[in-house]
């Protein structure tokens, strides 16, 4: 594989690296807000993947100027506009849930929440009663 | 009334009856009246079917509906099913009468649930008997399992629930885990599940695989209690005695061996089995079960447990007869279904009567009871002799034909096995009677009286000999009748033979 290939795939590889950092943040971190940030990075890199594939070298933004030109592919742009909205919607909901969890558990760390739940389930009946409201 | 209607009624009567019984929950007398009436009606209907089945012309058949394309819910009469239908419906009458006496005398709880489930169980037993294809048979087989579970666990004690769990576990486990696979295998291989004379397997399943399929069937039919799937039977002993009688003589175990016989004759076809020898292995499994169970029976002191193992061994006779794959063997096995039913229900009725009258369950405590309960013990003796297979009891016929079947199959060893097991039968059944009559109860007067009184049996004004303390009439009459039945079956054994003979006629 020659330099042209490496350059030709560089974008995709970088995108993959970004994706994986985001993905790793989601699955490895225990802080609920941090997870959401991770999701954002994960999704944003997917946006970059789509847009990269739409790019035509020497092309311009797909806004007709009248004179003949090479335009980059508009379809990925459209798809990603939708995807961005989905992303922000997810973020908003996720954060709202985090706020509620904080109110209910007084923590936003996965481990501490898990511990609290285990107590609810297997711990002393008193603890179990408290959450049976 | 056309044959189809009669067939429809044979299902309708018991299931409708169960609903009526449930509705009559409030009034015990009414409820039990309904039970007995339903039983009588059903028997009458079955007799009607018998008359039509034996008459010339096409055998009665009824198509209920199609569940999936090609899989129909259908009923049809053939000799074996006719016989089983008669046993189930006929003995249900006696069993109901007996239940009334037993359940009342022992102040059992939840009697309505008991009678309802009983009716459903008999209904599904009749369904098994008249099923026209394996699919229909399987459906009623499963309903029978489910409907008898509340009967087994009736007492609701921890012990009863454990017994119920074993019962349900083994029966559902085998039927779904093995039998269903066998059925679907047959369906995939042959495209039909109809019971056909001469079988449907021949040429459709690779010969090497036939024994495997056969194994899936016979072990899948857990109700036949072939070892090692016999555990549920002793476990189910926690049930009230009438239930044990139902399970061990009338509905459940008979449905098991009946299904085995059905599969052998109408799915595999005995000629095919005989030609391929695919069922030879089963002969030995059956023989082993037969002996092992008898030996275990001797070690049991609890009367019902002993009878339970005796049942396991007697069922093996039927399976053995089927496995011999000769017409005599099949006929002998089939007849044994009837003979054993009559004999074993007698024995269980007696066990129940003894318990009702004296609340004794261990044989070693039963010294001298024979003289207190002459009818019960007399009946017990007759039943025992029939099970052992001595003339003039019905049991002698079936064993005789089994012997012939073994001879036809040149299985001399099997003949030996049958001999030995008959001796074993003597060894575990007769001592009980001996103790009853020829030993003196350590506490002849006094003990057991209160219960006897409670059970409502009036002491006969004694003339030197101790007063008779029988169980209530409702218990004693049925067991005398079944005992008589054993003798009747001996006299009419030939009629039974002629009824069954068509199913092996080429």
């Amino acid at each position: 594989m020659g330099v042209s290939d490496i350059l030709g795939l560089f974008n995709y590889w970088m995108v993959i690296i970004l994706m994986m950092i985001g993905f790793y943040t989601v699955v490895s971190r225990g802080n609920l807000v941090k997870k959401i940030v991770g999701l954002n990075i994960f999704q944003t890199s997917v946006f970059l993947l789509y847009i990269s594939m739409g790019k035509v070298s020497g092309g311009t933004a797909p806004i007709l100027t009248g004179k003949p030109e090479v335009y980059s592919n508009p379809l990925p742009h459209v798809l990603i506009l939708t995807a961005i909205v989905v992303g922000v919607a997810t973020t908003a909901l996720g954060l709202a849930l985090v706020v509620r969890i904080k109110n209910a558990y007084d923590t936003i760390e996965e481990d501490e929440i898990q511990a609290a739940d285990d107590e609810t389930e297997f711990g002393d009946p008193q603890a179990a009663e408290d959450h049976r409201r | 009334m056309t044959a189809a209607t009669a067939l429809a009624l044979s299902l309708l009567i018991p299931f409708a009856g169960s609903i009526l019984i449930a509705l009559a929950a409030g009034n015990a007398n009414l409820r039990e009246a309904v039970t007995v009436t339903t039983a009588v009606l059903l028997f009458a209907d079955v007799l009607w079917l018998l008359s039509m089945a034996t008459a010339a012309g096409p055998a009665p058949a009824l198509m209920i509906g199609e569940i999936m394309p090609g899989l129909t819910l259908a009923l049809a009469i053939e000799p074996l099913g006719m016989m089983f239908g008669m046993i189930a419906s006929g003995l249900w009458i006696l069993n109901s009468i007996y239940s009334i006496g037993y359940m009342r005398a022992n102040l059992e709880h939840k009697q309505t649930r008991y009678y309802v489930c009983f009716a459903i169980a008999i209904g599904s037993a009749v369904g098994v008997a008249f099923a026209a294809n394996m699919f229909t048979l399987f459906i009623f087989y499963e309903i029978l399992t489910i409907s008898t579970y509340p009967l087994v666990a009736h007492k609701e004690t921890a012990e009863a629930r454990a017994g119920g769990r074993t019962y349900l576990g083994v029966l559902i486990g085998t039927s779904i885990g093995l039998q269903l696979v066998a059925i679907i295998w047959t369906w995939v291989a042959t495209g039909t599940l109809d019971f056909t004379k001469g079988g449907i397997i021949s040429g459709k399943v690779a010969e090497a695989m036939v024994p495997v399929l056969l194994a899936l069937y016979v072990f899948g039919i857990g109700k036949a209690a072939l070892m090692p799937f016999h555990r549920w039977l002793p476990a189910a002993m926690v049930a009230p005695t009438p239930v044990s009688a139902l399970l061990h003589a009338v509905a459940v175990v008979k449905a098991g061996v009946f299904t085995v016989m059905k599969v052998m004759v109408y799915i595999f076809g005995i000629d095919f089995l005989a030609a391929t020898g695919s069922s030879n292995w089963l002969i030995w499994v059956a023989a082993a079960t037969l002996l092992a169970a008898s030996i275990i029976a001797m070690t049991k002191d609890n009367l019902k447990a002993r009878l339970a193992y005796s049942t396991v061994s007697q069922l093996a006779y039927v399976t053995l007869g089927a496995a011999l794959a000769t017409s005599m063997g099949v006929l002998g096995g089939s007849m044994h279904i009837a003979m054993h039913a009559m004999g074993k229900i007698t024995l269980f009725f007696c066990a129940g009567a003894i318990y009702t009258a004296t609340h004794k369950t261990e044989i070693s405590d039963m010294d001298g009871l024979g003289r207190l309960m002459p009818f019960t013990y007399g009946a017990f003796l007759i039943g025992a002799l029939s099970v052992i297979g001595l003339p003039p009891m019905g049991g002698s016929w079936s064993k005789w034909y089994l012997m012939l079947g073994a001879a036809d199959a040149d299985q001399l060893v099997v003949i030996g096995v049958l001999m030995v097991s008959s001796l074993l039968n003597v060894a575990y059944l007769l001592p009980m009677v001996g103790r009853g009559f020829f030993t003196l109860a350590p506490d002849a007067p006094g003990h057991g009286v209160p219960q006897a009184q409670a059970a409502g049996a009036a002491p006969v004004p004694g003339s030197g000999r101790p007063p008779i303390r029988e169980a209530p009439l409702f218990c004693v009459v049925p067991l005398c009748l079944t005992a008589a039945g054993c003798i009747v079956l001996f006299i009419y054994g030939d009629a039974l033979y002629r009824l069954l003979e068509p199913m092996v006629r080429p």
Partner: protein, 494 residues
């Protein structure tokens, strides 16, 4: 004239009803609107199924833009049947929801709850009916987002609903993102998003590593969405702590829609000739399905919370569906599709019965069930009936599913699998019977007086039980439609 627009009406009606419901000042009004819309959707789906069965595939081009440039709705027997399941279950659940939601969700949230419910319905219907890969993603997200919220509504009863919803959100989003990556790669290699067009172009490309990866990502993403073992971790708590009505609706529909999408991508888009098709089904889906059947059922046996127990059982049941598709035969797919329908019926009924218990006692743990046979006879009778169906007793739908599944296994010569199927269903006997014993053979705790659930809960439950038995006794219709669907997916002539 309207008949021509049925495909879009199926989705557009609930979609527009959702914002309308925001204007309702009272929860009852919102419920009425939702119920009417749901009935409408149900009727539409019936009409659609009818049209498909006698006219074949329906195609509807949105905005009259010809596919593949515009978005196309494409209805064949397969998704018509799933549409029917979704809208039908929704219609049965809503009368139940009116009472149980009024009891389980805060008063001030009643109105918006139904808005959210409508959105969930819209999303599920939209992702099933569409013939455009990306459009499927959009509606998948509508369904998912609304589901997260609906699950979180259980927080009034138990705060764990919040964490369940959060986990579901994170896992679901990962799954959706995997899916969208896969779709992106497909688009990259084919230049199209239209499913039919994709189905034509993918074989033309031949062996291609990018496509293989696309395949992998789509299967993984959808696997997460349908809780394919071992990607099922989000499901148990989500089902256990969501409001009862939501649990019923989700258990009966949400995962089903994902299963459908997987079927669509595997069989219609990639097709049986795709290089990784065979190995994936044989060496990935089949083993995972079998493991799911056993692992999940075994875990279910040890659950204290019966709602969670049934949730695990759902994972096992999804195993059956995936197993059916892994055979890639007409019978196998028929089994899968009919089980989509049958499982919706049985789990719907079971969760409804539990919902009645939860409404009375606040939870449904194994010791809450003690003596309920006498305390709530009708509810428990329904539970037993549903349980028998789950076990696969004859004369219930469960038996039909199992019969077809085992038949499919034997037809494919996989008799060990057939044995495993029946063996695993015996585990169901164990965990159902735990409950039955507790309910019937143990006395109710002191102070618990007999008191049946309100008819509003009982009637829907028994409607589903009735369906369980009816379609268990006469399965000719369901088997026919499922067979049609299977052939449509396998592109074999009927």
């Amino acid at each position: 004239m309207i008949a021509a627009h049925l495909p879009i009406l199926q989705v557009a009606v609930p979609l527009v009803a959702a914002p309308l419901s925001v204007f309702c000042r009272r929860g009852a009004t919102a419920w009425t609107l939702t119920f009417v819309v749901s009935i409408g959707a149900f009727l539409i789906s019936i009409a659609l199924l009818g049209q498909v069965l006698d006219q074949g595939v329906l195609s509807y081009q949105l905005g009259d833009w010809a596919a593949p440039w515009g978005i196309e709705y494409r209805v064949d027997a397969a998704n018509a049947m799933v549409l029917l399941i979704i809208s039908g279950i929704s219609t049965v659940v809503l009368p139940y929801a009116r009472v149980s939601i009024a009891h389980e969700v805060e008063a001030h949230n009643q109105t918006l709850f139904y808005t959210c419910y409508l959105l969930c319905l819209t999303g599920l219907l939209g992702m099933v009916i569409t013939g455009d890969a990306f459009n499927a993603f959009v509606f998948l997200e509508i369904a998912s987002l609304s589901t997260y919220v609906l699950v979180a509504m259980g927080a009034k009863r138990d705060r764990r609903a919040l964490t369940a919803a959060y986990t579901y959100l994170v896992m679901g989003t990962i799954g959706a993102t995997f899916f969208v990556i896969g779709v992106g790669l497909l688009y990259m290699m084919t230049g199209t998003l239209n499913m039919a067009d994709l189905a034509e172009r993918i074989p033309a490309i031949g062996a291609n590593r990018t496509l293989v990866v696309a395949f992998a990502f789509i299967v993984t993403g959808l696997g997460l969405k349908l809780a394919l073992f071992p990607m099922h971790l989000w499901l148990p708590n989500a089902y256990a702590f969501a409001p009862s009505a939501v649990t019923v609706f989700l258990a009966a529909t949400a995962t089903k829609a994902a299963v459908y999408l997987l079927l669509r991508f595997l069989f219609t888009i990639f097709g049986t000739s795709f290089p990784t098709f065979e190995p994936t089904l044989t060496y990935l889906l089949l083993p995972l399905a079998v493991i799911a059947m056993f692992a999940a059922s075994t875990v279910a046996i040890f659950q204290v919370d019966i709602k969670r127990m049934l949730a695990y059982s759902s994972i096992a049941q999804l195993g059956y569906m995936v197993l059916g598709m892994s055979f890639a035969t007409v019978t196998g797919l028929t089994a899968t599709i009919i089980h989509l329908f049958n499982h919706a019926l049985m789990k719907g009924a079971l969760f409804m019965a539990l919902g009645a218990v939860v409404m009375r006692f606040g939870d449904a743990t194994i010791d809450t069930m003690r003596g309920l046979g006498r305390v709530m006879p009708w509810t428990m009778a329904a539970f037993v009936a549903g349980g028998l169906s789950l076990i696969g007793m004859p004369l219930t739908v469960g038996f039909i599913s199992k019969w077809l599944l085992v038949t499919a296994a034997l037809e494919s010569g996989l008799w060990p699998i057939a044995v495993l199927v029946v063996a695993s269903s015996l585990l169901a006997v164990i965990y159902i019977w735990r409950v039955v014993e507790a309910a019937y053979f143990e006395p109710p705790p002191e102070g618990v007086t007999a008191g049946e659930a309100p008819p509003a809960l009982l009637i829907p439950t028994w409607i589903l039980i009735g369906a369980n038995i009816y379609f268990g006794i006469d399965a000719s219709l369901t088997t026919r439609v499922a067979g049609e669907a299977a052939r449509a997916l396998l592109k074999t002539a009927s």
